[in-house]
């Protein structure tokens, strides 16, 4: 049996919006992510995909249900630094150089200077920013900033990576390059990934499984296994099987709507 990276069972998340009103962000979520598996969460805005990722990261706490990361509670896993994280915004510290930003988590966790410097150099090479190590974030393009953020997420060799639409703000060209690179880095490191996105081709290209979610309340509608064997290369984007999976995910997202969903659309 393979090790379980993320285990979610019967998780609900309700937000208070003031004046006693509440919003059900997530309802009855069951999900398991195996070690080394790449799982995407996809769905329209308001479906709770980011919320689910934030619960796994222990940035928010579930209202009900059971959630473990590598068999530990989410807070324990966070304090043990079992995951790396990246957001839609690169969220680099503007006063630190590329190297300084990548070193940040290692510095905070007390890694010796020489060691973290060597690791940072390694990561800078990994994301192809060799000439930019001493630049500041404002001197980099959006794509380069996001590379730094990804390098930072990998800094402490996490076995789990949580990514919240990390390429959401990038143009299509940069986005595809970044996807190919992320796929390569993930293959090299063997980390499990929970990847939030609203791009169908992105989810299909990167994932072993795609979790399709629906809003109000956020539920898992369907989990599709991609089963695209082999390396994620540019050729895959032209592949017949790739288009098939894209259609399948699209249908799961839009097609076979429940009566309730149709009612909303027709209003």
């Amino acid at each position: 049996m393979t090790e379980i990276a993320v285990h979610v069972r019967g998780v609900d998340k309700t937000f208070r919006t003031g004046r006693g009103r509440t919003v059900d962000a997530l309802s009855g979520i069951d999900l398991e992510v195996a070690a080394g598996e790449f799982v995407s969460l996809i769905g329209p805005s308001g479906c709770g995909k980011s919320t689910l990722m934030r619960l796994i990261a222990d940035l928010d706490t579930p209202t009900a249900g059971e959630l473990t990361v590598f068999g530990k509670t989410a807070p324990r896993a966070r304090l043990d630094q079992d995951y790396g994280i990246a957001f839609q915004k690169a969220a680099l510290l503007p006063w630190r150089t590329v190297r300084g930003n990548i070193e940040l988590p290692m510095e905070l966790h007390g890694m010796p200077r020489a060691e973290r410097r060597a690791r940072a150099d390694e990561l800078i090479e990994l994301v192809g920013l060799g000439d930019f190590a001493d630049r500041h974030p404002d001197q980099l393009s959006g794509g380069m900033q996001q590379r730094v953020a990804i390098a930072r997420a990998f800094a402490e060799k996490p076995r789990l990576l949580l990514m919240d639409e990390p390429f959401g703000a990038l143009d299509e060209m940069t986005r595809e390059t970044m996807q190919t690179e992320l796929a390569r880095i993930c293959a090299e490191t063997g980390a499990a990934v929970v990847f939030v996105t609203h791009s169908i081709p992105e989810a299909v290209f990167l994932s072993d499984r795609v979790v399709v979610m629906s809003p109000r309340p956020g539920r898992i509608r369907e989990i599709l296994t991609m089963d695209l064997r082999g390396e994620r290369t540019e050729e895959l984007r032209e592949d017949e099987a790739f288009f098939e999976r894209v259609s399948a995910v699209r249908e799961a997202l839009h097609g076979s709507p429940s009566a309730g969903a149709k009612g909303v659309e027709n209003r």
């Binding site: 940035l59 994280i85 957001f87 915004k89 969220a91 940040l104 966790h109 500041h136 900033q145």
Partner: protein, 290 residues
């Protein structure tokens, strides 16, 4: 090269322009000023009210009084200004430390913010003149044993009272300026409030803090001069302004020297903060959003 010189030249041009405007007004306006229906709408331009710039300079170069051995007025002014400046710097430092300390407490505890912030704002509505004798009296009561409360300490304390306000407000805004992503990131790293404060909040506060520090520096200078007058501290620029103004009718150009001395102090204070902001320039970089 030209681009570098431009702001300097413009600065000089600005000063010259004020001087020219002064002299032109003096030449054109009637000595008695313009009075309409008993109200003076334009000030008097007599030598008494508006001495020529040349007369001010002339006066600055001559001795303070006719007494033998009296130093040149400019030198005496400079000494007074540097005496006051020293007090202002002490006041500024105390104000900065107190201001930042208050901001830290307010940032850390939300209830402290609700409780303290109104008092911080209210503190600035108390007139300085009313405060000065009070500070002096309380200070004198503090003098025990080896420690003796000096008048200059009262002045520095009042200067710090004016200086702490912009610092605490600026620092509070600065400490609150990191984005939600930055704070999420620090939480994900599992570091506590204090480490987050040092790694993210403090550096992020610098762009907010620097203008506040400049305001505080100018406030400290003004506070020092006003407090010197109301406490009656000798040796400083505040005292010189009052003293020389008393001889105004006989020697109208004399009182302008300490006024320029006060301006010089303000410039020096702003200049010191500019140096500080130069040293901290890497914290003033702005992140270009992806």
């Amino acid at each position: 090269m030209m681009r570098r010189l431009r702001p300097i030249l413009l600065g000089i041009a600005g000063v010259v322009l004020v001087g020219v405007a002064w002299e032109v007004y003096k030449a054109l306006a009637p000595d008695t000023g313009v009075v309409i229906a008993g109200i003076t709408v334009l000030p008097r331009a007599s030598d008494l009210a508006m001495p020529h710039l040349g007369a001010m300079l002339d006066r600055a170069l001559s001795p303070v009084t006719r007494a033998a051995g009296s130093p040149a007025l400019w030198l005496a002014t400079l000494q007074a200004a540097s005496f006051s400046f020293g007090i202002a710097v002490v006041g500024w430092l105390v104000g900065v430390v107190v201001g930042i300390a208050i901001a830290i407490v307010m940032q850390r505890f939300r209830t402290a913010q609700s409780a303290l912030l109104p008092w911080v704002v209210l503190s600035q509505t108390v007139p300085l003149i009313a405060l000065a004798p009070l500070v002096r009296r309380i200070g004198t009561q503090l003098s025990t044993g080896g420690f003796e409360w000096q008048d200059w300490m009262s002045v520095a304390l009042i200067a710090s009272y004016l200086a702490f306000f912009p610092v605490s407000i600026g620092a509070l805004r600065g400490f609150g300026s990191p984005t939600a992503e930055h704070l999420d990131l620090m939480r994900a790293y599992g570091v506590g409030w204090w480490r987050t404060f040092l790694a993210v909040r403090v550096p992020a506060s610098i762009p907010f803090l620097l203008p506040a520090l400049r305001l505080a520096a100018v406030n400290a200078v003004v506070g020092t001069i006003v407090a010197e007058v109301s406490i009656g501290l000798r040796g400083g620029i505040g005292r010189a302004i009052v003293e020389f103004a008393a001889s105004g009718s006989a020697d109208p150009a004399k009182q302008w020297s300490p006024i320029f001395g006060a301006v010089l102090m303000g410039l020096a204070a702003a200049g010191l903060v500019a140096l500080l902001s130069l040293a901290l320039r890497r914290y003033r970089r702005n992140e270009v959003s992806a």
